[in-house]
Symmetry: C2
Subunit: 390 residues, 2 copies
């Protein structure tokens, strides 16, 4: 890979990260506001289902698309909840949502293509584009600093006949912003002029929604449905991050191409893991309502703590696990801010720098911890900020 050495950096290379790692090893981080996984454990019934399947011999090679029963459940869910329906083999089960993105990119990208993504974003998007095809030109568009919204004028400027794909993400990491109906209307209008451009929509945080907004799936829009890859999974909703199971929903022609790639690099997702995933559809989702309420409590708390604060602006968050905070009124850049915060208060937050230089005036806070612990951490954070010179 041409870019492997030059462009693919580990996501956490800084003085802050060194300190975080070293404190973490010594168990000395008191408040971890950097986590990207739910605080609860994988439900016991899911674990038991996997065990049962292992004992029944679901430990062998299987087909690259996934077990029929799981695919049917995903199709049913997507039709009912997301208003997405394709006929035929329109689902591929993948070892994680990351791999679903990799397969989607690899199935369409050719030399000379361009891919548009929005910054800040999940740090693996850019490396994944490069890894899928190192002859492709990644094109970054910055979200608006005031509210992390998508600026469609910028998109109109950047999109062209070489644009093979646009990657979107809602609820958004790192900001928690959800795309609205009018966002999708704008997107649809632009895509109409570029019929060969695919849309890849990362909806992994779908079920973590603590706003009153309805989650909208891009593929529910008829005019773009057949060129949309919908990426989702079980990691965030059922705390199965380490199980590595996700999926992609798309037109069956696209799924066939992905399946062809999957069979050569992954074979299949372990069938006992798929059996566990099938079980998640039987789980009463009340626990998620409760969990979202906890996320909301944390978000409300940090928002009210810094309401009208002269140096800290908590941006709006609708879902996902995070909120994004503007610290541009402070003299400290995000990496130094987080370094000092960690050193002085043993609180780990994620520097905006990790999302690119242009985000060095922001920090990302995870909402995925216990309410009382979160409150103590935020109070300390406030104390820390108020003691800083602005």
């Amino acid at each position: 890979m041409r870019y492997v050495n030059k462009k693919l950096k580990p996501s956490l290379e800084s003085k802050f990260s060194d300190l975080a790692r070293s404190l973490n090893k010594k168990n000395k981080i008191k408040y971890s506001l950097g986590l990207g996984e739910p605080a609860f454990n994988t439900p016991n019934s899911v674990i038991n289902e996997a065990y049962k399947a292992m004992k029944l011999g679901f430990t062998r090679y299987s087909n690259p698309l996934g077990l029929k029963e799981l695919i049917d459940k995903i199709k049913y869910k997507s039709k009912k909840e997301n208003n997405i329906y394709y006929s035929g083999n329109s689902v591929i089960v993948t070892p994680g949502a990351k791999m679903a993105l990799t397969l989607a990119l690899k199935s369409i990208l050719k030399r000379g293509d361009e891919v548009i993504y929005f910054s800040p974003c999940y740090p693996s998007y850019l490396p994944q584009i490069i890894l899928a095809n190192d002859s492709v030109k990644p094109r970054e568009i910055n979200l608006e600093k005031k509210d992390l919204s998508l600026n469609f004028e910028k998109l109109k400027e950047k999109i062209n006949s070489k644009t093979k794909a646009i990657i979107i993400n809602s609820p958004h990491n790192p900001s928690g912003r959800m795309l609205s109906f009018s966002d999708f209307k704008n997107l649809e209008r632009i895509l109409k002029k570029f019929p060969k451009c695919f849309l890849i929509t990362d909806e992994i945080y779908e079920k973590l929604n603590f706003s009153n907004k309805k989650h909208i799936s891009a593929a529910s829009i008829r005019s773009i449905k057949n060129r949309t890859f919908t990426i989702n999974g079980f990691s965030k909703s059922f705390s199965m991050t380490g199980w590595r199971i996700g999926y992609c929903l798309a037109n069956q022609k696209l799924v066939k191409k992905m399946s062809l790639i999957q069979q050569h690099i992954n074979t299949n997702v372990p069938t006992f893991t798929q059996k566990a995933a099938i079980h998640t559809f039987k789980i009463n989702l009340k626990f998620l309502k409760k969990y979202n309420l906890n996320l909301l409590k944390n978000y409300n708390f940090i928002s009210s703590e810094f309401k009208n604060h002269k140096n800290i602006k908590v941006l709006n968050s609708d879902g996902g696990l995070f909120c994004f905070i503007d610290i541009s009124n402070l003299r400290l850049k995000s990496d130094k801010f987080c370094y000092k915060l960690l050193k002085q208060y043993a609180i780990a937050a994620t520097p905006g720098l990790f999302f690119g230089n242009q985000w060095n005036n922001f920090i990302r806070i995870s909402l995925a911890i216990d309410n009382n612990k979160f409150k103590s951490a935020i109070k300390k954070l406030k104390k820390f900020v108020n003691n800083l010179k602005s």
Copy 2:
């Protein structure tokens, strides 16, 4: 991917495969001689270890290299059994040996490079090369038809300054042939002249060895050790094919590059699966001796059945799960041979055609079935052959 549509075909597209699939669905294949996985189940203690780990919370994100305990065990095993030792982080645990190969290829390949592989081979090698970098030129060398040995004169002709990697496999799929000490001496001599060429050695069948030959690891040869990627896993030895866990052993600089790629496309292998793999090192390997004895019995039976047969020549097999059979004296090509065999006797074998047009006079037979069942199948195979016009 430029080649996805043109070159990446599903491995089983033929009239034979259609029949095989349809009979398989109806449970009408009596003798499956096509299997690439051991007949025994994953040991119970391995399953229980995975369950224990899940319940203990080993269901979360982890580091892309793998759990330290597993890496230490692999390093110890490789030093003791394979005479391979590197300092530092020289092991990466991957979701299957296929992914280990993908990461190895991706970590080194650049535009303009060439990769040499030998035919017949595991059908995913060529697609994997193309998927790793579609600007790379794959260069195929045919093994010798008489015994599937490696012709070093041909290698000398094909290797050049653009050759970035050579892929070898011992014990070999589909022939079961193991590379000898003199093979490695020849290889070493050639590689000396091309210091920038890497060696990727697929040793997944290492423990399935029913010959008197010692398995030799390429990385035990000092002069090529630091440019060798050794690929291995738990699938074949412990019947964990569907678990998707393998590993690659290499110089720590190479492993670092692989890890950088893995973190962006796979995150990590499920830690409960890694815990299960750790447990395999505690298992008494007597069961494997017994299993290899069964493979040998099957191999000896088919060899003696067709000894001095005018139309069938069973090639020598030392290990792995297969033997390769020369049917060139018959009028039937492999796909038609297998089609008729399946139709008339409900016996599924793998047509040599699947390994390329040049192998259409061969068929592959899996040794991985119960001895008595194998005997019946081979007797029927003999009857089938003797009834054919030659």
